[in-house]
């Protein structure tokens, strides 16, 4: 008998079931060579998860090395400019390495150490996850190889250099669309060839079970902090949460704490690229369908024959044709509203936030901010809206300058 937890009515926080499924999504769709390893990670994480000393060690690094808690900042000028909801920014771009990715990298490398692994691999799109992985690998003195699409290497040069400074080897991936999905294929190929010594630090709430759950758990600190911080500031829960979604790690991190609070609305914003109806986008939930890739069943951009299509987004971090399985399940369950923002809208929001609030967001959360610009004006002034600024924009200045016709 397989266990089939019912996700109906009572809770949205019980998933995944024992075999790693969120409803029909998730699972462990990997080659047999990897299966024993995936099961070993699952077992090790299950033990770590209930071990107070593991959590204490993680918390200590999060506080002293990462710089948590990140501030929850009331953004008066954005609020005034939109004239509606009261906008709070969760400042995860202030973490060490400049994005939320370090949260799950710290958790995963502590698990890798616990498992006695001596080599780290990762995939990266924008480079933020690669930088965060290279950072923790340097901290724990483990050799690290990061797979990165050739196209992404081109558009994220500062992060490539950063990873190399941190001692990581950045391996260009030239197969397929030369971006994030191909980097993940290549990391999986590396893993299958180095099962004995290597730990794969996955950069999103995706991949085979237990990764979607594990990465979510490590990111859930974001939502836990928001609950406390907003309680202190306003004495109550937020009315709405807004986050961007590529694979969906920062959104799951913000949402998870509040999934069972019916009064909290959640908006997840996918990258619409040139527009969802143009076919040139990265909005797997808005414009894709159910499929199986990278170890999980979820939503993917694909053709009628099940061939995965290339994603398009100005933001390398959202340029992935799939999404984490828990998001697929939350979409079908209707708990989270999935929407999208185009390249153009993200660019405008990028500049808008920079000029009004003095915060240069990454292009990824600029998509979330674009949705805020649409949503906030329609809402009353006592509506509390929390946006996750999951990364800072320094890495994107070259891309933005080029799009604005500025030569640097």
């Amino acid at each position: 008998m397989t266990t089939s937890l019912s996700f109906q009515a009572n809770t949205f926080r019980a998933g995944p079931d024992e075999s790693g499924h969120f409803g029909k999504y998730g699972g462990r769709f990997v080659a047999e060579t990897l299966m024993p390893l995936v099961l070993a990670v699952e077992k090790a994480y299950a033990a770590a998860r209930t071990d107070p000393s593991f959590q204490r060690e993680l918390d200590s690094y999060l506080e002293h090395y990462v710089g948590r808690p990140s501030p929850l900042y009331f953004a008066p000028r954005l609020t005034e400019n939109l004239g509606g909801a009261k906008i709070y920014l969760k400042r995860d771009e202030l973490n060490h390495t400049g994005a939320h990715k370090i949260n799950h990298c710290m958790g995963q490398i502590l698990l890798a150490k616990r498992m006695g692994k001596t080599r780290i691999i990762a995939e990266t799109g924008a480079g933020q996850h690669g930088v965060a992985t290279a950072t923790v690998a340097a901290l724990f003195n483990l050799p690290c190889t990061v797979y990165m699409g050739e196209l992404d290497i081109e558009r994220q040069k500062p992060n490539v250099f950063r990873m190399r400074l941190l001692g990581a080897e950045v391996k260009p991936v030239r197969s397929g669309s030369k971006s994030l999905k191909d980097a993940m294929n290549e990391a999986l190929r590396d893993w299958v060839a180095h099962v004995d010594d290597t730990f794969y630090i996955i950069g999103t709430v995706g991949g085979p079970h237990p990764y979607p759950m594990m990465v979510r758990d490590f990111q859930a600190v974001i939502g836990r902090e928001v609950r406390q911080q907003l309680h202190k500031a306003e004495g109550r829960l937020p009315d709405s949460l807004v986050a961007c979604v590529g694979g969906g790690s920062n959104a799951m991190g913000l949402f998870y704490e509040f999934l069972d609070e019916p009064s909290v609305q959640m908006h997840a914003v996918e990258a619409a690229g040139l527009g969802v109806d143009t076919g040139k986008h990265a909005a797997a939930l808005t414009g894709g369908s159910a499929g199986v890739l990278h170890g999980m069943r979820s939503y993917f951009l694909q053709d009628a024959d099940g061939q995965i299509q290339e994603a398009h987004s100005i933001s390398a971090g959202l340029d992935y044709p799939g999404v984490g399985p828990e998001h697929a399940w939350l979409k079908d369950a209707g708990r989270v509203t999935y929407t999208s923002a185009t390249d153009e809208e993200a660019l405008e929001a990028f500049q808008w936030c920079s000029k009004l609030e003095g915060i240069i967001p990454a292009l990824e959360p600029a998509h979330a901010l674009a949705a805020v610009r649409r949503l906030a004006p329609t809402l009353p002034k006592d509506h509390l809206m929390v946006v996750n600024v999951c990364g800072r924009g320094d890495k994107d200045i070259f891309t933005v300058a080029e799009r604005l016709g500025v030569k640097l």
Binding site: M35, S175, V192, R297, D305, I308
Partner: protein, 283 residues
Amino acid sequence: MTAACFSSRLAARFAALKAEGRAGFVTFLTAGDPDAATSAAILAGFPKAGADLIELGMPFSDPMADGPAIQAANGRALKRGMTIKGVLDLVRGFRTQETTTPLILMGYYNPIYVHGGAAFVKAAKAAGVDGLIVVDLPPEEDAELREPAEASGLDLIRLVAPTTDAVRLPRVLQDASGFLYYVAVTGITGSQSALPATVRRGVKALKAKTDLPVAVGFGISEPEQVEALGSMAEGVVVGSALIRRLVANLDPHGRPTPSLVPDVLDLVTTLSAPLRQGYSQSR
């Protein structure tokens, strides 16, 4: 008459090989590489050239378990418009000439899932397919395809890897049918060379627990390896080496030259010879 005693072409072929006292030679080809017509010609020539079993790869955009040779083959096939329907058309065409050589489709789960597992296995069986190998569908997830496949009379072939330990092996063998595919290297296809001594240990452990035939694949490209592995298993699979030979016969624009089909079939004959020589010598 003999074949009628067996439930399938696969069982009949393994029984015949057993009677001959030799392992079967299993060839791999990506459907539609470099184009459908060339694939059809290679397929048609396989049995005579020395293939006892055929694995036909269903091209996929993201072949995660494959090395560069088969990745590129997938890319060429998709670029020339190969589809799942096109793969089944190739099988149908092959079956008009050849009715005894088993043909297994090998691929990734997504295209099958998107077409609907039940509908796909029905169409595959009708086209003349005998079994399926779905690389990224481990036993824990395969019930949704295995059950309709069994109902349609198709074997869902399970993979056993060097990493499959004694604790896990019973899980893999439970509900296994057709034969078992032993992955000879801990890695991707065509990447490193299978070491007969290491493989022997794994195959031996496997054979102690199952009566199903075992085919060994991944990292096999030399006649010596074929010979050594043929002495311990019921089948030896060669894939990337055939694809590299195919690629050597493409013109600079990626189109097949006239030497392509005979050259690939020659390699099949060369690589399968040790299995047959072993047979003739032992007689």
